[in-house]
């Protein structure tokens, strides 16, 4: 079986989404003796995170936890995504140029960059790294984004030219993700345990089920980060993570899992609460491929039946933002589409009557992730108001949910956050679990891919609106990024729009 490349990419997006969205690979953690506030030197930092990496090799192991820990910190890319502005900015590339036809990218590299194993970073490594993504060495599905690259030419040790086989508005953006990470040919022997990159940090220790410690290295090419030692501690349990912060076990909660407890921290002088945004759209999927949701009126009825603000209030204590389509507010083509299908139970009932359905029973198969469990109960209750009985069935995430909903598409309704950046494209995939097939939407996206940048934004906007009007799904809200930190910790990545928990700008006063 050979899937069309877009399908693979789309699936990849989904797979990634579900992993990042959940607590898939989390585990226990411990607090080091240095976690004691009295002993804590200013140059160390302990950050609590939810999902633990299953291994340290993101070339063969899926999951958001690995790039979260390693990207930009241990591995660097030619260009990175600025967490404040959401823009693509140079990193290892001092500068880059794009040809007018959008096919040729010329990167000028920084000099005197070395890998943590001592090897020098040159244009050869760029060529090696990009070609390695295309080779069998990479097995994770995200590699498909690199298939667009036709050739890589090294013109000097500090200059490299990448030729695309077709123009893409997306490729450079993808280069800010893990597939753009730069490897050394001599440093890929034991990626699962010994990552070798050009970043300011090296892996110090990785205690499975517990924590991962990064330490700065002396020969970093750029400005050394302020915090010399960062420990990433993994908590399966949200309450345990909160308690760790309250009792001094950690300094930062990287992503707060229990929004209701935020008030506790907001009231406490010791802590600062940062509210940012993410790429995670909470998608209430409806199986477009089979009744009753093959009827657009039924789908629209569901959208009208839902009071999304109430869902947001219950699920995330009101943090997060209502959207209305598959676009987070940080994307350039975002527009507020919440008025396309406002909360209007009467309208919902009218639509259902028009579609000729009554006493609707739908299988609502959700993953056992906290937000999904909470949100689904509100959804169920609201749907009951308009006469739709949603039978909630909780499936274990990832394995069973992926199997039943994602692969077999055996569901009527589901609910999961898709956190992959710029992932509206998944709706263009007819084989995706949404079952949404619309040639017009597909062609709009296709045009957008090769259009010039202004047109690109306009076409994407148009596509998003069409999705919303077709009620291909419902978009409940975009997940908030909630960070709680001790007052003296500054420069944390407030918005989670890249794959990295970027520690390079963090300082302790």
């Amino acid at each position: 079986m050979s899937l069309p490349s877009r399908r693979r990419r789309a699936l990849a997006a989904g797979a990634l989404a579900v992993v990042l969205a959940g607590c898939s690979a989390g585990s226990g953690t411990s607090e080091p003796s240095s976690g004691d506030p009295a002993e804590a030197a200013p140059s160390t930092l302990a950050v609590g995170l939810a999902a633990e990496p299953a291994s340290l090799d993101f070339t063969t192991t899926d999951g958001a936890a690995i790039p979260e820990a390693l990207l930009y910190n241990v591995y660097e890319t030619l260009v990175k995504l600025d967490s404040e502005s959401g823009e693509v900015v140079p990193l290892l590339a001092e500068d880059y140029e794009v040809s007018d036809d959008g096919l040729t990218y010329t990167f000028t590299l920084h000099e005197d960059v070395t890998f943590s194993n001592g090897d020098e970073f040159t244009a050869d490594d760029v060529k090696y790294s990009i070609e390695r993504v295309q080779s069998e060495a990479w097995t994770v599905s995200l590699k498909e984004a690199m298939s667009i690259v036709g050739s890589v030419e090294v013109s000097s040790p500090t200059e490299v030219v990448v030729n695309l086989s077709e123009p893409s508005n997306d490729w450079l953006y993808r280069m800010t993700t893990r597939i753009g990470a730069m490897f050394s040919e001599t440093g890929v022997d034991d990626l699962a345990n010994t990552p070798v990159g050009t970043g300011p940090y090296v892996l110090d220790t990785f205690t499975r089920g517990d924590s991962l410690t990064l330490a700065t290295r002396d020969d970093y090419w750029g400005e050394a980060p302020d915090v010399e030692e960062v420990t990433l501690r993994y908590f399966e349990d949200a309450t345990a993570m909160n308690n760790a912060l309250l009792s001094g076990g950690i300094d930062v909660i990287g992503t707060l899992q229990s929004p209701e407890s935020l008030e506790r921290f907001a009231d406490d002088d010791r802590f600062e609460v940062l509210e940012g945004t993410t790429n995670g759209e909470l998608v209430l999927s409806m199986n477009n491929a089979r009744p009753p949701f093959d009827d657009v009126r039924v789908r629209q009825a569901v959208r009208h039946a839902l009071d999304r603000q109430a869902i947001l209030d219950t699920t995330y204590a009101g943090y997060g933002e209502l959207i209305g389509s598959m676009v987070p507010p940080t994307d350039p083509w975002y527009e507020d589409l919440t008025d396309v299908a406002p909360y209007d139970p009467a309208q919902a009932q009218a639509l259902l009557a028009e579609a000729g359905v009554s006493d609707l029973n739908v299988a609502f198969r959700i993953p056992n992730l906290p937000y999904a469990v909470t949100a689904s109960q509100v959804v169920k209750s609201q749907l009951a108001e308009v006469g739709i009985n949603a039978e909630i069935e909780v499936l274990e995430f990832p394995a069973r949910w992926l199997d039943v909903v994602f692969q077999q598409n055996d569901y009527d309704m589901s609910l999961i956050a898709h956190v992959e950046p710029r992932d509206m494209t998944i709706f263009a995939d007819p084989d995706y679990y949404f079952g949404y097939v619309d040639p017009e939407f597909q062609s709009t996206l296709e045009q957008a891919g090769t259009a010039d940048s202004e047109q690109y934004v306009e076409l994407m906007r148009q596509a998003a609106r069409q999705l919303s009007e077709d009620a291909a799904a419902d978009w409940l809200f975009v997940l908030p990024n909630l960070i709680v930190a001790e007052q003296d910790v500054q420069g944390l990545p407030v918005n989670r729009v890249s794959e990295s928990f970027d520690l390079t700008g963090v300082t302790r006063a």
Partner: protein, 314 residues
């Protein structure tokens, strides 16, 4: 007596084999292809097939079982489908953690339950005995995870005297090791102590009513001395039985407490493995837990023959 020990050992080995078959067979029913899961849902069929071959999951189940079980005695549990690392060392790491937890909790339970149980029995008519009985009843009724959560809230969050959770290996920092161990051990041990207290109480009460204790008193031994010299060893038999059952409960209770206190022990490994469908890992952990329980049962059976000469008869 030797015959008996040998027979008991044979039963133990047979139980191990039966347990391994059960565990393996059960895990083999799990839906989902490990290779598919490891590669992510969008992997190509070719790479899935290759991975399947690498995992060995394309072989017949019997062959897989034989391969798996033959590695167990030497601590080879195979390699994780998810992290691609050897499972044996991981389990070994985690076992040490859980073992500390379970042993300390057992010790705490014993230290609390023996005197309290004897007190409750000796004074079972007086107020102090009734108080001990009542408190132990309440102690049993509180789920250990709730106890854990409350302990953290009070001692770690409110008072800040102890860490809220986590683990420091004893070799790294003995002081911190102890500090981190206190709350989970209390959460696990106190509930067990409550259960044990009641068994000690009833065992001692039973023994106090035995003729031989009266005989001892007729010889001139005071009530406490009669109990100590003649009662304890006899009371030990039911108590040891319960203790054995409790070690099993503790191992499993540790799963819950490890979750509450974020301790990287066998329990969290089991839960992670389950969530990730790390089939071999789960299989390995379950097997280790089951072996531990069977081993405790074996030890207890052997202990019986030490305590009770009546069981030594050939």
């Amino acid at each position: 007596m030797l015959v008996q020990v040998l027979r008991r050992l044979a039963v133990f080995v047979l139980s191990l084999v039966a347990a391994s078959v059960l565990v393996f067979a059960f895990m083999a029913v799990l839906p989902g292809d490990p290779a598919q899961i490891a590669l992510g849902v969008s992997a190509t069929p070719e790479s899935v097939a290759a991975t399947r071959a690498a995992f060995g999951t394309d072989r017949p189940l019997v062959v897989q079982y034989a391969g798996w079980v033959s590695g167990l005695p030497v601590g080879d549990f195979g390699s994780s489908y998810v992290s691609r690392t050897a499972i044996g060392p991981q389990i070994l790491d985690r076992v040490q953690v859980t073992l500390w937890l379970v042993l300390c909790a057992t010790a705490l339970a014993l230290v609390l339950a023996l005197p309290l149980g004897v007190l409750a029995a000796a004074r079972h008519r007086s107020a102090s005995g009734a108080v001990v009985s009542g408190v132990s009843q309440l102690g049993i009724a509180v789920p250990s995870f709730l106890a854990g959560i409350l302990l953290v809230t009070v001692f770690a969050v409110r008072l800040g005297v102890l860490p809220s959770g986590g683990w420091v290996p004893p070799a790294q920092n003995p002081g911190e090791f102890v500090r981190h161990l206190v709350l989970p051990v209390v959460a696990l041990g106190v509930v067990q102590a409550a259960v044990l207290t009641r068994y000690v109480r009833s065992a001692v009460l039973d023994v106090l009513r035995e003729d031989y204790v009266r005989t001892a008193r007729a010889k001139g031994l005071g009530p406490l001395r009669a109990l100590a010299r003649h009662g304890f060893r006899n009371a030990a038999i039911p108590v040891v039985t319960v203790l054995a059952l409790q070690v099993a409960t503790l191992l499993i209770g540790a799963v819950v407490v490890e979750r509450v206190f974020v301790i990287p022990g066998l329990g969290s490994l089991l839960l992670d493995g389950t969530a990730n469908r790390d089939l071999l890992l789960v299989q390995g952990v379950v097997m280790v837990l089951v072996v531990a329980v069977l081993l405790v049962n074996l030890l207890v059976d052997l202990l019986y023959t030490v305590i009770d000469p009546r069981l030594r008869a050939g």
